[in-house]
Every structure is written in structure tokens, then in C-alpha cells.
């Protein structure tokens, strides 16, 4: 009478709270959004099923698609700046912090991480003031070092505004890749490093040849976090430049475009259906990006077991 295996109820019981909460606040709204994008309002103020016609408007109508591609392009640049500036600086800082000869490492670590816990509203407002051509300290500081001629009202110029805001965001969030890489660097066993030293690999070449390959999986995770975070970004642009993402839509990213469309702005009335369409497109973009990473990159990363 070895019998049937008992149904293991406790698994379901223990999973239930997380599944229920996650379903209620993530999965249901997500499908609600996808569903909303397939409907539209008729002139008689009822909603009707329109299939993919909202997507046809978004990608086919030159005005909608112009705004969408502009936002996507800006968003891509926003991401590129983060990948080229934030993550390398994060890795560099982590490498410096993990150096045993550095004094006051805990102080630097905290100081660099603090902006991350500040509110976007504070960061946006403070940087707007710093960079203000009227009251800001940026023109004065440049003047002290004789570079006043380099100053421009960056946030007000089409050519610079987005890059300036991306760098503000980098300033705010550089602590996160730094912390993750720092943790990864600390987890490298001393034996590996000692073995490397025995073989004469020290200093810079030790970093490139031994440490970097070992922290590559962490860098991959950071890249994907940056990607998802950047393509969902909204707050900083909204705080600094408003919903119209000026000057001349040069800082308009998908988040602000979605906000303007969904909730409306000034005389423009909100359009939940087109808003949901944009949200769905954003979801698709992020999904594709994450899939490329998961299947194209992560499976090829070599892992080392110690």
C-alpha cells in the first residue's frame, strides 16, 4: 500500500498570497490595458471593438507615428547615454571602492548612493535650479574656471536638453550599478585572485582578465535593469520639462507621450484608448528587449562556479 502521492496542498497555500496579489495588481491591469487598446470611442460616446485600428493610427497616421518615433528615438538615446556613461562609471567606482587601499570607502559608497534614494521631484527641481541661466550656480562655477563661454541654457536647447537630462538621471542612479558590481567584486574568492597574482597578473590586467569576466553576469543584469527602467522613464522629464517635453518635443520619451495621450493636457482631452495603445507598444518594446537579452545574451554568458 505504497499508495498515491498525497496532493501537496501546502505548495498552493504558500504560493496563493503572492499569486493573488500579483494577479490583482499586475496581471489583471496589464490585460486590461491590452484590452482597452482594442476598443475606441464612437461619436455616440459608446465604446466599440475596433481590432487593431488604434495601432494602425499610431503607426500609420503621420502625426501619431511622427510623435511615436520621435519619442522612441529619444528614449533610445536616453538609454544609450545610460549604457555609455552610467554603467561604465558604476563599474569604475565599484572597482575603486573594492580596492583595499582606499580609505573612507564606506563614506564614498554612501555619498554616491544617496541620490538614488532622493525623489525625482527633488532631483529634477534641484538640477533645474543648478542649470538655470538666471539663478543657477552652473554659470558662476564655469566663470570661476574661465569657461563661462561654454555655458548655454542647456535645458532650453533642442540639441542638449535630452542629453543634459539623461546625465542628471545618470548622476541620480549611478549608485545602483556601483552597488551591484561592488557586491559581485566582493564575492570573487581570494584564491582566484591569489592564483592570478602567482601567475603575475596584477593591477589593471587583473581587472580586465580576471575580475571583469567574473562580473559579466552582473553587468548583464544591470543592462537589462537599465533598459527596462529607461523605457519606463517618465518622472524626471515630467518634473523638469512638463508634459509637453520641451523644447519642441526634444525630450519627449515614451512615458511623457503616453501621459499626454492618456490623461490629456491643457485643452487636449485624454484618450484612454490611444493611451492604452501606446502603453501596449511600450510593453511590446520592453518585452522584445528583455527576450533578446534572455535568449540571445544570458544563455551565452559563461558562468563560473567556485
Amino acid at each position: 500500500m505504497s499508495g498515491r502521492r498525497q496532493i501537496r496542498w501546502h505548495i498552493a497555500v504558500f504560493l496563493a498570497p503572492a499569486v493573488l496579489v500579483y494577479t490583482a495588481i499586475m496581471i489583471v491591469p496589464l490585460f486590461g490595458t491590452l484590452n482597452l487598446s482594442l476598443f475606441n470611442q464612437t461619436p455616440e460616446r459608446t465604446t466599440e471593438f475596433v481590432g487593431l485600428s488604434n495601432f494602425r493610427t499610431l503607426f500609420g497616421d503621420p502625426r501619431w507615428s511622427g510623435a511615436f518615433w520621435n519619442a522612441l528615438g529619444n528614449n533610445a538615446w536616453f538609454f544609450v547615454v545610460h549604457m555609455l556613461v552610467q554603467n561604465p562609471i558604476g563599474i569604475l567606482l565599484a572597482a575603486l571602492l573594492s580596492s583595499p587601499r582606499l580609505r573612507m570607502a564606506a563614506f564614498y559608497r554612501t555619498a554616491i548612493f544617496i541620490p538614488t534614494i532622493l525623489s525625482f521631484v527633488i532631483v529634477g527641481f534641484v538640477w533645474k535650479l543648478i542649470l538655470s541661466p538666471i539663478w543657477g550656480i552652473a554659470p558662476g562655477m564655469l566663470d570661476v574656471v574661465g569657461l563661462k563661454s561654454l555655458f548655454a541654457p542647456w535645458l532650453g536647447k533642442e540639441d542638449y536638453a535630452l542629453t543634459a537630462l539623461a546625465l542628471v538621471s545618470v548622476w541620480q542612479f549611478v549608485g545602483i550599478p556601483m552597488m551591484l558590481i561592488y557586491a559581485a567584486l566582493l564575492s570573487i574568492p581570494d584564491e582566484v585572485l591569489e592564483a592570478a597574482e602567482m601567475d603575475g597578473i596584477t593591477g589593471m590586467s587583473q581587472f580586465w582578465k580576471i575580475k571583469l569576466p567574473l562580473i559579466l553576469p552582473s553587468i548583464g543584469i544591470i543592462s537589462i535593469l537599465t533598459f527596462v527602467g529607461n523605457f519606463n522613464a517618465f518622472d524626471l522629464i515630467y518634473v523638469a520639462q512638463g508634459a509637453l517635453a520641451g523644447p519642441d518635443f526634444s525630450t519627449d520619451i515614451l512615458g511623457t507621450f503616453l501621459y499626454r495621450t492618456f490623461f490629456g493636457f491643457q485643452l487636449q482631452l485624454g484618450d484612454p484608448h490611444m493611451g492604452a495603445t501606446i502603453a501596449t507598444a511600450m510593453f511590446g518594446i520592453i518585452l522584445i528587449g528583455v527576450c533578446i537579452y534572455l535568449f540571445g545574451i544570458q544563455t551565452r554568458l559563461r558562468r563560473y562556479q567556485f
Binding site: R45, L155, L244, F265, L267
Partner: protein, 417 residues
């Protein structure tokens, strides 16, 4: 036994307290005028509550830029207040059509308002009025009178005098000639294009012709204001591209700028901040003696949330808002918000008197983009913000901007096709 008695006592007292509170109805007002919070709390609401015991009123404003979005979400969710401050024209009309705002045509106080005053909160056929008009705002220029006296500048009446004055201020160098930035964009359209524009498109004549499709935004009278705006660039402060609306207000009230393209709603704030004498002049005309036109924009009204459980008490409040008593109280508490009530209102503030005096010598109109023309996508008002800011910065020519606006309007507005 003691515990039970205590429990009953507690329960009874709670119930009694609840009953006592239920006699007082609290009305909540949704508004974007967060600057006016203290005036409502200290002046307007106490005056009403003194006459109407049993009705309490709470003024609950949100930030101007978010108001429409916040209000729409609250109305959809059923959590909006009893009284809704109404934006003019389509934003409120849409709410009425969706059944969110109640029909107030039968309100006795509606008799106190002229058809023009009510037009911003009526259905297109004028059959139903859904908000009680509160105030309009007038556009013009506020100037630093001390600076003008110091530099020996007369108040400009014509375009030539206007630019001569700006040149003189610039040459002197003590003051920034004009305080305006393009960072927030809306000032360029509201205090720029729609401020000086009526002189060119002849106020109502041009505005209505545009709605009928008889004029186009590419016609000379609609491009001319852009051509003027393009000339403003040289007179704005350093780095005006990143200058925000509060920056401009501060530059002027700190006495660092001489002229401020304004809306009359600035008056109370400026009176409190500025340490110098101020004056105001209407948008300069092309040649001396031309008829002047001003933007006297019906801006703010109060409506009733159709889902309000306290509709009867809210109507009592709305009747009071439509009364001459409220008009006097409001216009004097907030100089610069001019009453729309047919009964003339005495105002004490000299700057407000200056603004309102233009109603007698100039023709009044409202902002060209507000009625009907901003119903579609792309939204003409929002596009005008962007175009005006671009023209001032010089990144788009007046002609190109006008062409873009016209193409956008024609893409959905049948009379322009």
C-alpha cells in the same frame, strides 16, 4: 457589567456625534487655482458660511498643469468634489456631454450674466448652460513704472514706439527689456501670440472667420503676430530658452526686467512681491489711432458635479456665486480676475482698474484657439504653444509655424478643409 455599560455608552456617543455631524453638509470645490487657497479660506468661504449655517465649504485645489487630468480621473472614479471649477469651452463641454456636469440653465443667478459671459460654458446651440461664470482675465503688458521714469520712456501705444522703448531699455542695460522665457511654452502662446494677435486678426471678426473657415492661419493677419514674436528674441534675457514661468515672474518683481507680457491674473501676486510702481498698457497697435483689440478671456466658472449627493446645498452655493455680492467679493479679493456679472463691480486696485478700463476703449475678444478649434487631434492650442515658443527662439520661421498649424487644423476641422 461595567465593560458592557461602557461599550453602550461609547456606541451611543459615536452614533449621536455622527448624527450631529450629518446635519452639516460639507461641499468640496475642485479647482486649479491653488494660488487662491488663502483667499477662499479667509474671505470667500466664511462670507458664505455666515449666511448659510449648516453648509460647510472646503476649497481643494490641485496644480494648474495637472488639473484637467486629475479632475477627469476623479470624475471617472466617482471621487471628485461636489463643485467643479470649469475650464472654458471644450474641456468643460466634454464633461457636460459625458454627464459629469449637471445642467444649471434653470439657476436663477444665470439671469445675472450676459450671453457672451455664458458662451464659454454652453452647448454649441446655447440651449444648456452648465457652469456659473466667475471671471475673465485680460491680457496686456505690465511695466516697471520706476524704470520707465528713470529711462524717460513714455508708455508705448504703437508697435514702433513699443520696439523703440525696448531698444532704449536694452541700450541702457540696467534692465532686461522683457521678462519671458520659452521653457514652459505656454507663455509664448498665451501671453505672446494670443496677447498681441487680436490687433492683427481684428478680434472676434478674425476668430469667428477662422471657425467658419473663411480665414486661414496662413493668412497675413494670422502670421503677423508670429512675425512680431520673432522680433522679441533680442529683448529677452540671457538663456531665455531655459527660463521658466516662475523665473520670469521673479525677474520682473525683483525689478530686473522692465516689461512683462502679462495676464491680469498676475496682479495680486505682483502687488505682493514688487517693491516698485507698476503700470499696464494694452497690446500696441500698428499705427496710432487704429482700433485696439484685447483678449478678455472668459476663464473660470463653477459647475456642479452631476454625481454629487449634496446637489441641493451645492445649488445654494452656486446661486450665491452668481450674485453681485460674490462678484464684488471675488473681484476685490483677486484683482485681475474680472467679474462677468452684469452688475458693475467697484474695484479698489489701480492696476486692475487700468486693465479693466481697456474694455471701454478697445474691442474685446477671447483666445482664438479655445472655442471649437481645439477639439481635435492635433490640438491647436497645444500646437500653438509649441509653434510660438519655436518662433521666439528662431528655430521655426513665422510662415512655417503658421503653415504647420494650418495643416494640423485642416486635418480634422471640416470648415478648414
Amino acid at each position: 457589567m461595567t465593560t458592557r455599560t461602557l461599550r453602550i455608552a461609547l456606541l451611543t456617543s459615536t452614533l449621536l456625534a455622527g448624527a450631529a455631524q450629518a446635519q452639516d453638509v460639507t461641499l468640496t470645490i475642485e479647482s486649479w487655482r491653488n494660488d487662491d487657497l488663502t483667499i477662499w479660506q479667509d474671505t470667500i468661504i466664511p462670507a458664505f458660511e455666515a449666511q448659510n449655517p449648516g453648509i460647510k465649504v472646503v476649497f481643494a485645489p490641485s496644480a494648474p498643469a495637472e488639473y484637467n487630468a486629475v479632475l477627469n480621473s476623479k470624475l471617472d472614479a466617482g471621487s471628485a468634489g461636489d463643485l467643479i471649477t470649469c475650464r472654458p469651452f471644450d474641456a468643460s463641454l466634454e464633461l457636460y456631454n459625458k454627464g459629469k456636469l449637471a445642467d444649471l440653465t434653470s439657476l436663477a443667478a444665470m439671469a445675472n450674466f450676459s450671453p457672451v459671459a455664458k458662451s464659454a460654458w454652453q452647448t454649441d446651440d446655447g440651449a444648456a448652460t452648465f457652469c456659473v461664470p466667475m471671471a475673465s482675465v485680460i491680457h496686456g503688458f505690465i511695466y516697471n513704472a520706476d524704470a520707465f521714469a528713470q529711462l524717460g520712456i513714455e508708455v508705448p501705444k504703437t508697435e514702433a514706439e513699443f520696439f523703440a522703448a525696448l531698444d532704449k531699455i536694452k541700450a541702457d542695460g540696467t534692465y532686461i527689456p522683457m521678462a519671458m522665457g520659452t521653457n514652459d511654452q505656454w507663455e509664448a502662446a498665451t501671453m505672446g501670440y494670443n496677447n498681441i494677435g487680436p490687433n492683427y486678426w481684428k478680434g472676434e471678426e478674425g476668430r469667428l472667420a477662422l471657425i467658419k473657415g473663411e480665414q486661414k492661419l496662413t493668412d497675413p493677419q494670422w502670421v503677423a503676430p508670429f512675425t512680431q514674436l520673432a522680433k522679441w528674441k533680442d529683448y529677452l534675457g540671457d538663456g531665455f530658452e531655459a527660463q521658466t514661468y516662475p523665473d520670469s515672474q521673479n525677474l520682473f518683481t525683483l525689478g530686473r526686467a522692465a516689461i512683462y507680457p502679462a495676464g491680469s491674473w498676475e496682479i495680486s501676486g505682483f502687488n505682493a512681491q514688487a517693491q516698485f510702481k507698476m503700470g499696464a498698457f494694452p497690446p500696441p497697435v500698428a499705427a496710432a489711432g487704429d482700433t485696439c483689440y484685447i483678449s478678455d478671456h472668459t476663464d473660470i466658472a463653477l459647475g456642479l458635479n452631476a454625481a454629487s449627493p449634496n446637489a441641493d446645498q451645492a445649488k445654494v452655493f452656486l446661486e450665491w456665486v452668481g450674485s453681485p455680492e460674490f462678484a464684488t467679493l471675488y473681484a476685490n479679493a483677486l484683482p485681475g480676475f474680472f467679474s462677468l456679472n452684469s452688475t458693475p463691480v467697484e474695484m479698489a486696485d489701480p492696476l486692475a482698474q487700468e486693465f479693466v478700463s481697456w474694455r471701454d476703449k478697445c474691442q474685446s475678444t477671447i483666445r482664438s484657439t479655445y472655442q471649437i478649434l481645439s477639439r481635435g487631434t492635433p490640438n491647436l492650442e497645444n500646437e500653438t504653444w509649441n509653434a510660438s515658443a519655436n518662433v521666439i527662439k528662431g528655430t521655426e520661421t513665422p510662415e512655417a509655424a503658421a503653415e504647420r498649424l494650418q495643416a494640423g487644423l485642416a486635418s480634422w476641422f471640416a470648415p478648414q478643409q
